[in-house]
């Protein structure tokens, strides 16, 4: 113990105190403060970047979900549009068919009516011609009869037999 106390140098103690004080002051001012500050700002930067990445990830997820729902919607709309178009097509076709049917019917009816009237006219014409012919024949017969009685008789008979419903 005595040896230790004898070895203790007050001068060295003073020097160490002064130098350590100076060293602490210098290092705090020129080293520790800037180092710790930049370490902290760097750590904060890293933390912020991580947080931002987390937020971005969440946003990304939201966007994906959004786009998926949008896609679904679009698909559904396309489906419905197609369906509508198909229905429209069918309706148009059906309408057209009906129209055509009606038109056809009308035309047929018209044609039939016109045929009927033509026929009537033709029959009337025939009747008229028959009448004229009959008169002409009658005239000739009468004229012939007037010249040959028996022959006339026979002629009248033949003619009548020919004319039997032309």
């Amino acid at each position: 113990m005595e040896q230790l106390l004898n070895d203790f140098s007050p001068g060295l103690f003073v020097m160490q105190t002064v130098l350590l004080l100076g060293l602490i002051f210098l290092l705090v001012k020129f080293a520790w403060k800037p180092i710790l500050n930049s370490l902290e700002s760097r750590e904060k930067g890293i933390q912020d970047a991580l947080d931002a990445a987390e937020v971005a990830k969440k946003e990304m997820q939201n966007i994906t979900a959004d786009s998926e729902s949008l896609l679904k919607e679009a698909r559904a709309e396309r489906e419905s549009l197609l369906k509508e178009a198909r229905e429209l097509k069918e309706k148009i076709l059906a309408d057209a068919k009906e129209e055509a049917q009606k038109e056809g019917d009308k035309m047929i009816a018209k044609a039939q009516a016109s045929i009927e009237s033509e026929k009537k006219a033709a029959v009337a014409d025939i009747k008229a011609q028959v009448a004229t012919l009959s008169i002409d024949i009658a005239e000739k017969v009468i004229k012939d009869e007037l010249s040959n009685k028996s022959k006339q008789q026979k002629l009248v008979d033949d003619m009548l037999g020919d004319i039997k419903l032309n």
């Binding site: 003073v14 020097m15 060293l23 290092l27 710790l36």
Partner: protein
């Protein structure tokens, strides 16, 4: 200045060359001193090394004329004597440590005795000793010399400043340091995150981290420097460890909050009769036991480490007659090699323990107490 500082290795090399250049005190002796051959001489040499020194001694050899030469460089001696501040170079003592050479400076006489500088009393021309080898006609002076330890402190201070100011400057330009700064950064982070933060607490650790970082690197680098053949023993000097411990004591005493003092002087929650007794114990703990545990632990560990390593190295001298030169040398090499490895660990461990305990004591002083 800043441009030069950017090349720290250059600065240090230049410093060493400058210091070695002027007066390699390749000076001679009659050969009675220096050679270390017997057990007593080994013991004395080790004890001498453990102490502080006034010159920087590198090695000694005996030249062809049988003269003992010492190689190293002198350091300035600065003492406060009866005639005021006196300075001279330590080379004036001619590497003498037994009071043989007497240096006259500033009108008074000085001798160096066991690494201490004594001023001779008025009129005395030689030192006389009593039976216990204490000088009778000389007294100690206040010695502010740039001793080997002070030189070590200055060297480490300069190193730390160059390294860490360099690291600080790196952060101005880039986020992640390169080169040696990449080694230093994790160490800084280690002290901040493993020592300061957990022991002091998230709220106030920041204001003490500068002190803890300084102390940690100061002790660690000086411990490591002590393991080099340069033979520094700075952290094994009581004066140095005492100053370090007192710094911690001052910090936790002045930064201690109301709760800390309250718990020390008038412990709540115990019977009133016991409180004064506890106060005595607590005060003794805060002002004596804590700083003493700090200063003695560091001093004893480092000094003991030096003594053990040097004793093991000395095996090659002391066991030569029993084991032969080869046997003694190999045994000494193997043992001192392993102990040196352990000492490298101890160098870190002691720096860590000192810093950790300082942080713990400061943490206890600034801790927020719940109101009971």
């Amino acid at each position: 200045m800043t441009k030069i500082l950017r090349k720290p290795n250059l600065v240090l090399t230049a410093l060493f060359i400058f210091l070695l250049q002027p007066s390699l005190f390749a000076k001679s002796d009659e050969g009675h001193e220096g050679a270390v051959d017997t057990k007593d001489e080994v013991g004395e040499y080790i004890l001498h090394h453990i102490k502080d020194a006034h010159d920087f001694h590198l090695f000694s050899y005996t030249d062809s004329h049988g003269e003992r030469k010492h190689v190293g460089f002198p350091l300035p001696v600065i003492v406060w004597s009866s005639k005021g501040l006196t300075t001279f170079m330590s080379s004036k003592f001619h590497h003498d440590d037994s009071g043989h050479y007497i240096v006259e400076a500033n009108g008074t006489r000085f001798v160096k005795l066991h690494s201490k500088i004594y001023e001779l009393d008025e009129g005395a021309t030689t030192v006389s000793f009593d039976e216990e080898h204490h000088p009778t006609n000389a007294h100690k002076v206040l010695d502010f010399s740039i001793t080997k330890s002070v030189f070590g402190i200055l060297l480490v201070g300069l190193l730390m400043f160059i390294w860490f100011a360099g690291l600080a400057r790196q952060y101005k330009k880039k986020k992640i340091p390169t080169g040696f700064g990449r080694v230093l950064e994790p160490l800084v982070l280690y002290v901040r995150d493993e020592i300061a933060r957990p022991n002091i607490g998230e709220k106030r650790y920041r204001e003490f981290t500068g002190y803890l970082l300084t102390v940690f690197f100061f002790i660690w680098i000086l411990n490591l420097l002590g393991l080099t053949p340069l033979g520094f023993n700075v952290t094994g000097q009581l004066a140095v460890t005492a100053a370090l411990a007192i710094f911690t004591l001052i910090i936790y005493t002045f930064k201690g909050n109301k709760g800390y003092w309250g718990h020390m002087l008038w412990m709540p929650g115990v019977p009133y009769l016991i409180r004064p007794v506890l106060a005595i114990i607590e005060v003794a703990g805060a002002f004596l036991i804590k700083p003493f545990s700090l200063l003695v632990r560091l001093f004893a560990n480092i000094s003991a480490g030096h003594i053990v390593v040097m004793s093991l190295i000395a095996i090659m001298v002391t066991m030569k007659s029993e084991m032969g030169a080869v046997g003694a040398t190999s045994l000494s090499f193997v043992l001192s090699f392993f102990i040196t490895l352990i000492e490298v660990l101890v160098a870190f461990l002691q720096a860590y323990i000192f810093t950790m305990l300082s942080a713990l004591f400061i943490g206890m002083a600034v801790e927020e107490h719940d109101h009971h």
